[in-house]
Symmetry: C2
Subunit: 241 residues, 2 copies
């Protein structure tokens, strides 16, 4: 069987021999847009069972079907790290979600801070971005994108066994101080373009489970900071080492 | 004097008391678009002398002038690391250049590899992007963006005292192996979307000054890889530690 050029996320159980019905959208995409036909091979994943090569068994533009052949990849579950960020301009917010999915964040949590410019987000659109990033980068897991929440409420209800690594612009130029924190659950918090407010910063510094880190001597945009912070976390505490 | 909300790169010497003539474009931007007037305060940098607060002394939309007051920042020279990358789609190429400038690359070198999709680049547009990134992120240095060159020619003429950290997709999942290389000059090399060709990979692995690294167990897009690789380099060998 050829290697698949198309990867699709399906909300269906996957196992060898399993028949997989396609949605109307997927059928239209595969057989209308991509002009695939019976026998064509596509890689399927569902965020749970890993990746399978599947063969088109019904090339119908409205309700196609596939049959799962060989398993090609196990599920690569990301470490238990969330990315919390303050939404910024549309293109850069999309970018942060895409990058968090690529870099192996388990959950993506948009938060409203005092200096956040965005009043609302399109959660469904951001979720679709995370899914597309997984489809295009060979991912087998799709992080959940939550609805926009207020940072102070999120912190008020916080599970204190989940530690927070927050990127403090005021620490620009300071040494890395993540140290040896023994915690299994983490969240990375990136501030908005205008930085955290004084009250937010003071509160974060007081939380015993929150750890401020510096991202070097240059001021980074929020989207850059998200990738850099995930790199540091994955290297020190995640599955990059 | 107020803190400046506008930062401008000027191709002029800067020193306390220095008069700085503005170009037609800068004059149009400051006095036409941004409606600044005499006495307004702008931050100026030229990539050499650091950052100065300067005051508008001639608010003319065609040939304005400023006077340098206090020095507000020293030049933050990036470590001697280049970012070499294979240009991809326009938006992502722009993004790589912006991120390289933010993350403190000293030079940005687009290279054509066997699997590179781009035949040419607009060097002037990419240089403008690097400059804008510095203006917006409080940078005091602007990396030079070179013209597109062929990777094999670049490697044929290589200064062997400059070591290369290259991100090998075939190493996805392998351990980090940058180790303790004693070199002052570095270049990071990111491959194209399709990866390096077998011949390119073999050649890179043979070069005594080239070091393959892994960027974790997930396949990253080229733009993500650029930020992640710069983060790793800055942390281990650059000015983030």
């Amino acid at each position: 069987m050829d290697k698949a050029k198309i990867r699709l996320y399906v909300d269906q159980p996957l196992a060898q021999g399993q028949t997989v019905p396609l949605t109307k959208e997927q059928s239209h995409y595969l057989f209308g847009v991509m002009r695939q036909d019976n026998g064509a091979v596509v890689a399927l994943f569902n965020g749970v069972d890993g990746e399978f090569l599947a063969e088109v068994t019904k090339a119908n533009k409205k309700n196609g079907e596939m049959a799962c052949r060989a398993k090609t990849r196990d599920l690569l579950m990301p470490p238990d790290v969330w990315l919390m960020f303050a939404p910024i301009k549309k293109a850069r917010t999309d970018f942060i979600v895409e990058k968090a999915a690529e870099m192996g964040a388990r959950r993506i949590v948009p938060v409203n801070t005092e200096f956040t410019n965005a009043e609302r987000i399109r959660q469904d659109r951001l979720q679709a971005h995370a899914l597309e990033a997984a489809e295009q980068c060979g991912g087998t897991y799709v992080p959940e994108v939550t609805d926009l929440q207020k940072l102070d409420r999120v912190l008020a209800d916080w599970d204190e066994t989940r530690h927070i690594m927050f990127c403090d612009e005021a620490l620009v130029g300071a040494a890395q101080v993540l140290g040896d924190v023994a915690a299994d659950k983490w969240a990375i918090l990136i501030g908005p373009e205008g930085g955290f407010s004084e009250a937010e910063r003071a509160r974060l510094h007081e939380l015993p489970f929150a750890h401020a880190v510096s991202l070097g001597p240059r001021i980074l945009r929020a989207d850059t900071a998200a990738v850099a912070a995930l790199t540091i976390w994955q290297q020190h505490l995640g599955d990059w080492s």
